[in-house]
């Protein structure tokens, strides 16, 4: 088992290396000038800036330097937030994204499995229809609409009753996280519910369920140990990528609810061509999602 984990770890590192290399050269190939702000500067100041960020060297040298520093865990200084290192940005923002993402994924997984299972058990009955309709509705509405609507609704409530049910923006306490996590998790929850339902429907027709019933096993045991456990497999397969996607892709929720997470920094960095932040975040997020992916697959294999 240790060998398995080590193997996985190694192949994870290889993936990270390839992603980093590919991203590095791709990023440099994107047209645009990372050092340019709203107003143009004289060629001399530009040269100074290039020297400051090491962009005056040939790209191979820059790449070598990047690799060397990456091994040391140093991604350099942000281009846009000058004087602030990429490591500082990650250290400050990742816990925020991770908390939000974790909350969202818990919400999505618990909700998805519950709703999906209930719908499957009640197949073709009213509750199944209602749940499936709600689920489909949830995936048909984009996150930004949900976010805006949710925020509007809560602010109306707050205003009407003169108390704060929930804060509508910002970050700090658990109550700040609730609304964004809900908004962030809804889409995934709906997807998981559908997946769960279809997989449950497959499981209930399996022979081993019939056998278990015939053996006279207690219902709850059949439900939990045979149906749920088998039906949940595809859900878990999907959970890995979606954890990674949610923790790192909460851009919309982060913007609407003014949350200083990594997603916001990353999109900003791409738009601003902030080379060091792009590289640092890519490598970091990749490592994180590899970890998620592996821990997920790990649990699958030893399930």
């Amino acid at each position: 088992m240790i060998k398995y984990i080590l193997q996985r770890l190694f192949s994870g590192l290889v993936t990270v290396f390839f992603v980093a290399t590919f991203t590095f050269f791709a990023m440099h190939a994107v047209p645009g000038d990372p050092l340019m702000r709203g107003k143009a500067v004289s060629p001399e100041v530009r040269a100074n800036l290039e020297a400051l960020y090491g962009l005056d060297k040939p790209i191979a040298v820059q790449y070598g330097k990047f690799l060397l520093n990456m091994v040391k865990g140093d991604f350099g200084i942000s281009f846009t937030q000058q004087n602030r290192s990429v490591n500082d940005i990650i250290r400050d923002s990742f816990p925020i994204s991770a908390t939000l993402g974790l909350l969202a994924i818990i919400f999505a997984a618990v909700g998805g499995v519950t709703w999906g299972a209930i719908a499957a058990i009640n197949r073709n009955r009213l509750s199944d229809r209602v749940i499936m309709f709600a689920v489909i509705l949830l995936v048909s509405v984009p996150t930004f609409v949900f976010g805006a609507m949710g925020q509007l609704a809560v602010s109306e409530l707050n205003q009407k009753f003169g108390i704060d049910f929930l804060p509508i923006a910002g970050w700090g306490t658990l109550s700040h996280m609730l609304l964004p996590a809900l908004v962030l998790g809804l889409g995934t929850m709906a997807f998981l519910a559908r997946l769960m339902r279809s997989s449950m429907l497959e499981v209930v027709t399996q022979d081993y369920i019939r056998t278990a019933k015939a053996k006279g096993l207690p219902t709850l045991r059949i439900f939990v140990r045979h149906q749920l456990r088998n039906a949940i497999l595809p859900v878990i397969t999907f959970l890995g990528p979606s954890i990674a996607a949610i923790t790192t892709g909460g851009f919309v929720a982060e913007v609407i609810f003014a949350i200083p997470g990594l997603g916001r920094y990353f999109v900003q960095a791409v738009q601003q061509l902030d080379y060091t932040v792009i590289m640092g975040l890519t490598v970091f997020l990749r490592s994180v999602s590899c970890f998620y992916g592996y821990s997920c697959r790990y649990s699958l294999r030893f399930y």
């Binding site: 192949s11 994870g12 290889v14 993936t15 990270v16 390839f18 992603v19 590919f22 991203t23 791709a26 990023m27 190939a29 994107v30 047209p31 197949r123 229809r129 499936m132 489909i136 509705l137 995936v139 048909s140 509405v141 984009p142 930004f144 609409v145 805006a148 997807f191 559908r194 997946l195 279809s198 429907l201 497959e202 209930v204 027709t205 022979d207 019939r210 019933k213 497999l233 595809p234 397969t237 999907f238 990528p241 990674a244 990353f266 999109v267 791409v270 738009q271 792009i278 890519t282 990749r286 999602s289 590899c290 992916g293």
Partner: protein
């Protein structure tokens, strides 16, 4: 609900039981070994034999929900592709007279002559400015000059003794003291007692307030207010474009706008059809391609397992690891999207290249699970070749999950397109998509919700229909579901 049903592949009922077989073993005669007369057997079948797809279609028709969604999908396609033949309004035409309006049928506009220069009104003699900071009164006799229309409102009033200037406000609700609405501007000279407002006027009621400003620049607290109901106005030039003999003062019928217009006066119904073409095309095409490619790769990975699986999964890790945004930009740039091109091909390729691993992982998981199931083992033992196993056993069993995946990839492709349109990487104007219509109007959601709601509802409806249809198809196509009937 499934206990009483026989599982697929169980023995036919007309076979004699083994006990009966044993009992009658010694009663055979030579006649029993003659070939059976098969003619009667086939004609005696109670149901016509159905192919797989005929059967699926029969099942689909039985499902009301999916039939309804099939109807919705076809009507949407008809709306988008045939609609423009019926509703022939140019989706890019900017109607000057109808800006950001809601549903409009049979509206009319008054033709206004050339309004370009209004010298304005000056009080004579020029009033003296008082240096004292005493409170000034409200301007008397606030009135309009010329015809009032959405082309412009000309206000005039009587001078207030001692005023150095006047500030003009416009409000959409009845103003209250100190809450006069939007400050439009102020007159620059003390003698000027008129103001022309022609900015962003719409067909609605406005409350204009004018307050006097003293020499110190302090506005008086007493205001004169005038409420005006604005009617659409059309300039003479424009009127003559549609009706050559139009003249000043004529009432001209405006084109109907069943869904209203956007902030540039473009017909929303026409734009909805126009945008739908691209949205549906991107949604279907990108989703189909990514599911197909993903399924193929995932199928290979899961089926062969071992080293191949390992390599393929590393590749999916790699692709999933690429920063989506950066690579969409890169791919689009690499494919050379110039200004003015819609960039649809590049967009589809970017979406497919970056999103196939989702489907691949799903299919791989399913195939892995299936590979170990009894019927595959049985088929394998009977000597089935991999291609036969894949096509005959695995593919039909995968269709369900593939359709679920496809129905979800369509909306996500549509949304991905919308997101990219939003950051300037999607379709470029004059091309439009539902996503870009949504994103153009999300800003106005509070003020002109219809601009947002029309494309948003259409997207939701499309997605809903595709989902329900997928559900129905899934039930109809999945052989395992037959047992549930």
């Amino acid at each position: 609900m499934t206990q009483s049903k026989s599982p697929p592949g169980s023995l036919p009922h007309n076979q004699p039981s083994s006990a009966a077989l044993g009992a009658s073993l010694n009663q055979f005669t030579a006649n029993d070994f003659l070939p059976a007369n098969r003619a009667g057997l086939t004609s005696g079948l109670s149901r016509p034999s159905l192919s797989y797809w005929q059967d699926a279609w029969r099942r689909l028709r039985k499902n009301k929900q999916s039939l309804a969604s099939l109807f919705v999908v076809s009507s949407l396609l008809a709306f988008v592709f045939l609609g423009p033949l019926v509703w022939t309004v140019d989706p890019n035409h900017q109607d000057q007279t109808q800006i950001s309006i809601g549903l409009s049928m049979g509206a009319t506009a008054i033709v206004i002559g050339d309004r370009n220069d209004w010298p304005g009104l000056d009080a004579s003699p020029i009033p003296a400015i008082e240096e004292s900071t005493q409170e000034l009164g409200a301007p008397a006799n606030l009135r309009t000059v010329d015809v009032v229309s959405t082309l412009g409102v000309r206000l005039a009033w009587d001078p207030v003794p001692g005023a150095a200037a006047y500030a003009i406000y416009r409000n959409e609700i009845a103003p209250e003291p100190d809450r006069l609405g939007v400050p439009l501007g102020s007159t620059q000279a003390p003698e000027r007692v008129s103001y022309e407002d022609n900015e962003s006027l719409q067909t609605r009621r406005y409350y204009y307030s004018v307050v006097a400003v003293n020499a110190a620049g302090v506005e008086s607290t007493s205001a004169s207010t005038l409420d005006l109901d604005l009617k659409p106005g059309m300039s003479l030039d424009l009127a003559q474009e549609t009706k050559a003999d139009a003249k000043e003062g004529d009432i001209i019928a405006l084109r109907a706008a069943p869904l209203g217009t956007d902030s540039l006066g473009r017909d929303l119904l026409a734009r909805l059809m126009f945008g739908g073409k691209i949205s549906i095309f991107i949604g279907l095409f990108a989703a189909f391609l990514e599911t197909l490619i993903g399924a193929m790769i995932g199928g290979i990975s899961g089926f062969f397992g071992g080293r191949i699986d390992n390599y393929i999964m590393r590749v999916t890790d790699f692709v999933l690891g690429l920063p989506f945004l950066l690579f969409v930009i890169l791919l689009k740039v690499a494919m050379g999207i110039g200004p003015g091109e819609s960039g649809i091909t590049a967009l589809i390729i970017a979406l497919v290249v970056l999103s196939w691993p989702g489907a691949a992982r799903l299919v791989r998981g399913q195939v892995l699970q299936m590979r170990e199931s009894e019927f595959i083992h049985a088929a394998r033992m009977m000597g089935a070749r991999p291609s036969y196993l894949l096509m005959r056993h695995m593919f039909p069993n995968l269709l369900g999950i593939l359709l679920v995946s496809l129905t979800f990839n369509i909306p996500s492709a549509i949304f991905a397109e919308a997101f990219l349109s939003f950051i300037g990487l999607g379709v470029a104007a004059p091309a439009a998509s539902w996503g870009s219509l949504c994103n153009d109007s999300i800003q106005n959601i509070l003020t002109h919700p219809h601009e947002f709601l029309a494309p948003a509802i259409t997207i939701s409806l499309t997605v809903l229909a595709f989902n329900l249809l997928g559900d129905g198809l899934r039930d109809a196509l999945d052989p395992k579901m037959r047992a549930n009937e």
